[in-house]
């Protein structure tokens, strides 16, 4: 590592370097989950795989949606659709902090010039019934990642404990690339034949989805879909484990969990539409959490989620 690392030139180069780095550290480089989620944690590779005793190591980009954060593409930092980079390793290795700092070096953050700090941050996901302790990581006063040792997920104690790293990719990349507005950030190499900025790709969709999230989405339909997802989740989990057709024991933990993810996103949309009151909010979060817990219970009964 004595050679100075060349500064990355684009958003995608930062992602590629993280992929290569964590791949080289032995993580399975997975692809994003193919559903709308609020954060990389929702990917079953994190939520479900952090349960049970089987070792696990994965890294992936997860497109994430936070409908209330829509700003019509005008805010320099805020987006309703953005990318998280997620690393999850079970059991958490003793040198996870060093590994993490290595990843920063890899994308051009030199610890001899920058001020890198681990600042207390207790992580809790009320919708997933999950919590952990760790830090937010500051680089020159800016939060660039979250670092969490999972203690509980879906109401289950994590044994062993998973270490989870979450990088807010846009914010991190803007800092590394020295860009002031996310829409001006080079997505591919600026010297490419067809250079594309983040704005070229996402400005229009940010406008469209902001309007959709705040005014367009039909709330009656969303309420109905929430109920449907909730019912389907419970129904899938109520099946007898023994599958008569294949003759195998098949618990549908993942399909049920998909419905939990759906319910969670529908709730976020309803929240953005401003039709959920403060008191109702808690009740909805509780309903999603109940689903997440049931899915976790079910996953623990499967091979992947069992104790070895």
């Amino acid at each position: 590592m004595s050679d100075a690392i060349k500064a990355p030139r684009s958003f995608q180069e930062i992602i590629l370097r993280l992929q290569n780095y964590w791949g080289a550290q032995g993580c399975a480089v997975l692809q994003p989950y193919d559903m709308e989620v609020g954060a990389g944690t929702f990917h079953p590779a994190t939520t479900l795989r952090s349960l049970g005793s089987k070792p696990w190591a994965a890294a992936y980009v997860q497109p994430s949606r936070r409908p209330t954060d829509g700003r019509y593409g005008e805010n320099p930092n805020r987006l309703q659709h953005y990318y998280q980079y997620q690393v999850i390793i079970k059991p958490s290795p003793p040198n996870l902090q060093e590994l993490y700092l290595g990843s920063l070096r890899e994308i051009g953050i030199d610890a001899s010039l920058h001020d890198i700090r681990f600042v207390e941050d207790d992580w809790e996901s009320p919708t997933l019934g999950a919590w952990g302790l760790g830090w937010e990581i500051w680089c020159d006063g800016m939060e660039v990642s979250e670092f969490t040792y999972f203690q509980q997920v879906g109401g289950h104690d994590c044994k062993p404990v998973s270490g989870e790293l979450t990088y807010g990719l846009e914010r991190l990349a803007m800092y590394v690339l020295g860009v002031d507005h996310v829409m001006n950030m080079p997505f591919n190499d600026p010297s490419s034949p067809i250079p594309l900025t983040y704005g070229d790709i996402f400005r229009q969709t940010e406008e469209e989805y902001s309007r959709h999230n705040f005014d367009g989405a039909t709330t009656e339909m969303l309420f109905q879909h929430f109920k449907d997802a909730e019912a389907e989740c419970e129904r899938l989990l109520a099946f007898e484990p023994q599958d008569p057709k294949s003759g195998k024991r098949i618990i549908m933990a993942h399909p049920a969990y998909d419905q939990t993810i759906k319910a969670s996103h529908l709730f976020n949309l309803l929240d953005a539409r401003g039709v959920i009151s403060v008191t109702e909010r808690q009740a909805y979060i509780g309903r999603v959490r109940a689903l997440a817990k049931k899915c976790a219970d079910a996953f623990r009964l499967t091979e992947a989620g069992a104790d070895a």
Binding site: H114, F118, G141, V161
Partner: protein
Amino acid sequence: MPDLLIELFSEEIPARMQARAREDLKSLVTNGLVDAGLTYASAGVFSTPRRLTLTIEGLTAESRPVREERKGPAATAPAAAIEGFLRSTGLRLDQLERRADKKGETLYAVVEKPGRAAPQIIAEVLEAVIRNFPWPKSMRWGAGSLKWVRPLHSILCLLTDETGSTVVPMTVEGIETTNTTEGHRFLSPGRFAVTGFDDYATKLKRAHVVLDSAEREAAIWQGAQNLAFAAGMEVVEDKGLLAEVAGLVEWPVPLMGRIAEDFLHLPPEVLQTSMKEHQKFFSVKNPKTGRIEGFVTVANTQPADHGATILKGNQKVLTARLSDARFFYDNDLRVARGGMGEWLDGLKSVTFHNKLGSQADRIARIAALAREIAPLVGADADLAEQAANLAKADLRSSMVGEFPELQGLMGMYYARAAGLPEAVALAARDHYSPLGPSDAVPTDPVSVAVALADKIDTLTGFWAIDEKPTGSKDPFALRRAALGVIRLVLGNGVRSNLTTGPFRKAADLVGAREGGFADVNELCAFLYDRLKVFLKDQGIRHDVIDACLAMPGNDDLTLLVNRATALAAFLKTEDGPNLLQGYKRANTILTQAEQKDGVEYSFGADIKFAETDEERALFKALDAAEGAITPAMTAEDFPAAMAAMAQLRTPIDAFFNAVQVNADSEIIRRNRLNLLHRIRAICSGVADLTKIEG
């Protein structure tokens, strides 16, 4: 005498937990060592983000030998008893001592416990302390089951004496003790060995770690002041922030930056809150303009470029944050100048509580109540109503959405921007107060009216829907609201009968809307409970309060407390407890006679039946006391009434010494009972003295 050095080296310990952890480490280890028979001369404890360090000087090398003696059964006791004694002592019969005494011979077990070497004791104590350390929140990591605040990486445990230093051997969950530690994560990576505390502290400093948080605090404060001074500015003191920042760095390097001109018009509290909450910056004030114009950030490194990159990065983050804040503020000012209608409309769709309606419903109740309360506190009713209607408008402002802790304060700025009367602006800021026992009580009449209305509405509302505090659960902070009412009333000398006045009105307002009425009397009982706690802290006993609560008009808290204060003071005088005894004696005799005779002796005693001088003197004293007490009570001058009552002490004592109440003559007996009745009537007009203990 050896010295002991312990360092628990971990991943970053939250800053806010370090001070407590230092104290816990010191007391738990030293108590453990002392309990095991060691003594020590002195102990010091330190923390950085990555370590807790304890140094103990002058530790004894081994514990004192202990001789324990236990008396057993008689030598002639049944075999089962002797066997039981042997089991419990772990000795054989031939190891017991036999001693002759009155009963014959008794068995004794004498166990000599030799002194134990310090290392053995230290290892046991340290392991127990690590396994049971009282972190506010702790965690597991990896595949282990040990809990620590964050993963624990190494344990240094070293005993040093004239002959050199040795590691105290022990292992906790696979972590073996060593004589090594690490320096600064970035500036001096790698482990090194130490020989004792002085060597440890010196080498750490060479490895870019300032061990003592007080030294780091001093360095940060001094460095920050120097930077500010050089620029003709001054750092705004913030002790809490200083302690926190000192807990975030091992090698503090303060750096100062300027806030861009575009943001200097923001209220100083906004700048301070944003910089402190989000970035842990100190605010720097320009004494010439009185504005916050700069900041100091504290880096945890000695960067190659003297901090240019770090400062640039921090400045950038600050600019992004303050751009948000300015956007919110400018936007809010536009809404405020337009009359805040947008916010007030918005509050209609914000649920306060599903059984108590929206925030707008709540505000309407508070406004109606503030109107009612206004005359009681000397406020203009229209102004109080207007202030109540607007006091919570800022809850919908963008700035309060971002920084909830600025609620009220932003309301004040926005009310001023809207050109509203200053009393309305102050009420917006102050109506949440007092928030705690030490928070100042508002004194501006309009603020007092709105603050009272706010709290009384909360109390009656949650009472009406049966969300009362139980045990340790008080999710709607009703105890705090009750204390707020008490402090507002007493602090401003408000005179009002709460049950028939404000609380009744509030219950009606809630009831009219929500169909559930609060039981005002029960609610006041809750208020009295809080009052007792409050007055207890002021040194007024609960029985004194009970004696005053039993009096009519007790729901006028100011009157009640004036009475209680006077009574408490009276009971502290020499006359107080003596008069109380006399009163109680009179009351007991009278009550027994009344029960026996089935009559009330309230016919009025006649001095012509008095037989002794003492009796006649009591007649005169009672006349005099009555003459003084009646006008004093009318004027609510309790100290004067108590003083007059005190005058009765000597004549009452003399009366009881000289006179037999239950005289043979029925006429004289009745007359004396009627006389006792006068004592009771006069005294119980001041307070119900039967409630006083003792």
